[in-house]
């Protein structure tokens, strides 16, 4: 009986560890459900507990469903395996939580840095004059036309608010899925036959089916290097607004967002956060090269190699937001732009500098990229965003 009790105690110990392990995984943002944990317990009864590799493979098969979660899983599993005393694991988790808190303070610091007052450069002063010349009839209209780089205080908040109310809609694509359609080109034999039975077997009505239409996915690549500084914060707001449709009918089937400077950072997950401020903070924290140099070619190359096959499948449109100041390999930029252009439905380049009347697209980056771009548009004020909205709806 004492032996049984000891075994039961050992089992309880294991279960406790399993639950703690689940919590440990959740810290690393693996969404482990109770069902998955239960399945794992079931799986543990099937494998040899003395074989670390088998236990690990079992845990991975049941608990991990995305490749990107593997590194965290591996780390967590090592901790789990080492922890012989349940309290040890508990402490480990606590340790991680503390570490996480310090990361949060780090994040705040980075955020502060990113928000730091940036002095407008000389050419921006020109822009200012330009916009000054185009003073318009109402305050609202003036705000619509005002360059993002010159917004301050309340204006900035107002623009963010207006951005959030904009409705984004992408043109549709004809899919190969069929749905009932009075004017469709195919006969729906099943429904036709069913209906004919109500009419004594005579085919009076022919029921038709046609192709279903679906909104296209959108991929956004936003330059957050130093030269984009006056715009990048607001543009991130814009990207957030695009990825959070306000109405029930999302005008875009799927939005993927990336930031790039000298490297490529995927922001989709961070921006999925419901709260704007927290989403943008998380995004800013992810971006390691904020305000640094630009190597668009390398960033695009990384996108083409790692992401394009996964994201550009369903006739996606791609938006690149950049001023085209590039310190990287220009040949590479042209080459990767060409590749990107070939693999998406529409490639649109948005340039904030295009808003100023005397801007000429002569920087090396723009010269290399332009031949492979379908549309080249300004993105310096609210009016230009509205113009973009019209374009997207009618690609």
């Amino acid at each position: 009986m004492t032996e049984g009790a000891a075994a039961a105690a050992a089992r309880g110990h294991l279960l406790r560890n399993i639950v703690l392990f689940g919590r440990l995984l959740r810290v690393g943002s693996l969404d482990v459900t109770p069902t998955q944990l239960r399945d794992w317990v079931a799986a543990l009864e099937l494998v040899d507990l003395a074989r670390k590799g088998d236990v690990k493979a079992a845990a991975r098969a049941v608990l991990v469903s995305r490749r990107r979660d593997l590194p965290w899983f591996n780390k967590a599993f090592e901790l789990f395996w080492q922890a012989r005393d349940p309290r040890e694991l508990e402490q480990l988790e606590l340790g991680l939580m503390i570490q996480r808190r310090t990361e949060r303070t780090k994040r705040a610091a980075i955020q502060k840095l990113a928000r730091g007052d940036s002095d407008a450069s000389d050419d921006r002063a020109d822009d200012r004059e330009n916009t000054a010349r185009t003073q318009l009839y109402s305050a609202r209209e003036a705000l619509r036309q005002k360059d993002f780089a010159q917004l301050e205080g309340e204006e900035l908040d107002e623009i963010k608010r207006l951005m959030a109310t904009m409705r984004w809609q992408l043109e549709t694509r004809r899919t190969r899925r069929l749905r009932p359609d009075r004017h469709g080109h195919r006969l729906d034999l099943r429904r036709t036959l069913r209906r004919s039975l109500t009419q004594g077997g005579e085919m009076v009505d022919l029921v038709r089916r046609g192709r279903k239409h679906r909104r296209r996915p959108l991929v956004l690549l936003c330059d957050i290097s130093g030269s984009m500084e006056p715009y990048s914060r607001l543009l991130l707001h814009f990207i957030y607004a695009v990825s959070h449709p306000r109405s029930a009918d999302p005008g875009i089937s799927r939005v993927e967002a990336f930031a790039f400077g000298t490297r490529l950072t995927r922001l989709t997950r961070e921006l999925a956060e419901r709260d704007v401020d927290r989403a943008l903070q998380a995004a800013a924290h992810r971006i390691e090269d904020w305000g640094g140099g630009t190597r668009t070619g390398d960033a695009l190359r990384e996108f083409n190699f790692t992401w394009s096959r996964r994201l550009l499948g369903q006739g996606a449109a791609v938006l690149i937001i950049s001023d085209g100041w590039d310190r990287g390999d220009i040949d590479l930029l042209g080459y990767e732009m060409e590749r990107l252009h070939r693999s998406c439905h529409r490639l649109i380049w948005l340039n904030p500098l295009l808003g100023s009347a005397d801007y000429q697209p002569l920087t090396r980056g723009i010269v290399a990229a332009l031949p492979h771009v379908d549309d080249f548009l300004p993105v310096h004020n609210l009016a230009s965003l509205e113009q973009l909205g019209d374009l997207l709806a009618s690609l």
Binding site: D31, T33, T35, Q36, D39, A42, A43, L46, V47, D48, G53, D54, K56, A57, A58, R60, A61, V62, V64, S65, R66, R67, L70, T175, R176, R177, L178, L189, R190, L193, L197, G200, G201, N304, F305, R309, R310, L311, G313, Q314, R339
Partner: protein, 316 residues
């Protein structure tokens, strides 16, 4: 949609279950599939727990092959559903045989009628039902045979609508046909889902499955695979080929060659009566390994020399 013709049906009434992971490894090996231990563990769990297995990995790492080998070693039928955009119930699950239904109705009419109600019941009975892979898999596991292996291949090519439908099927292997009723599997079929990641498959679906990412095999394993699958290849040649392919995977390529390419290339070299690699033959047959023009351009004369050097030094 294709139903693979190369199935082997066994007379066994129940599926042979494996006592442990090693048994899975050796059973697969007997069918010429060399599985890593963690893959075998996932398969073993999938069989024991009756859960579908979801395999992801680069094209050509042998995802589909897992299902085929599994069907062979379980002695059960392989039912394959190739996914594509727009795949719907009538091609994946079932369809009514309209031609027969119409002929039947006309026949009744010619024979002087019978009332409409019985005609409807007649026409919507299983005699007029065309089985598609999913229904077939569910029904098959009803007839007291070894449960079939259901391969849902390249799910990433299907659209979200089909994925949602599949979610329902994978949960309880039960299909409702409004005119007939519900068909449920008595023992769930062994379901294998594969994806090439041309699109992210929804998390909800992955969660219902056991997930496994198949990587490119290491050197030893790939040599074993080549020797198994191309028995004509001498061992030293197989080793040389694999070393070259592995070196090629380290090059900066848009699309790395998979195991399928290694096997194709080995077959090609054997067909060309080669016994060792040379720069000429490598240049001439590079198209078997690399499928993108950019990648072919990248492997210039200098790269060919470098790769050959690597392939000829076993110490590496």
């Amino acid at each position: 949609m294709t139903v693979s013709p190369d199935f082997r049906r066994s007379g066994a009434r129940s599926a042979p279950r494996f006592p442990d992971v090693d048994a899975v490894i050796s059973a697969l090996r007997a069918e010429d599939y060399i599985a890593e231990r963690d893959l075998a563990t996932a398969i073993y769990l999938s069989l024991s727990m009756g859960k579908p297995i979801f395999l992801e990995g680069e094209p050509g790492v042998g995802k589909t092959e897992v299902a085929k080998a599994l069907a062979r070693c379980l002695g059960s039928e392989l039912i394959r559903l190739q996914c594509y955009e727009g795949l719907d119930v009538s091609t994946a699950v079932y369809e009514w045989n309209y031609r027969r239904q119409l002929l039947h109705l006309r026949g009744l009419e010619a024979a002087g009628g019978g009332d409409a109600r019985t005609a409807v019941d007649d026409v919507f009975s299983s005699d007029f039902l065309l089985e598609r892979p999913l229904l077939r898999a569910v029904r098959q596991s009803r007839r007291g045979e070894a449960p079939p292996v259901l391969l849902i291949d390249e799910l990433d090519r299907a659209d979200e609508e089909f994925e949602a439908y599949l979610l329902e099927i994978l949960a309880d292997f039960q299909i409702t046909i409004p005119e007939i009723g519900t068909v449920a599997a008595e023992t769930p079929p062994v379901a294998v889902v594969t994806s090439n990641r041309t699109r992210e498959v929804h998390d909800a679906l992955k969660r219902r499955c056991l997930y496994h990412w198949i990587d490119f095999p290491d050197y030893e394993k790939e040599v074993q695979i080549v020797l198994r699958r191309v028995p004509e290849a001498p061992e030293h040649f197989a080793a040389e080929i694999v070393r070259l392919v592995q070196a090629l995977r380290e090059e900066d390529l848009f699309k790395q060659p998979g195991v399928a390419e290694t096997l194709d290339w080995t077959n090609a070299l054997i067909a060309l009566d080669q016994e060792t690699l040379s720069d000429d033959i490598l240049r001439d047959t590079l198209g078997v390994l690399l499928k993108y023009q950019d990648d072919l351009d990248k492997i210039d004369d200098e790269a060919v020399c470098r790769l050959l050097r690597k392939s000829q030094s076993p110490g590496d």
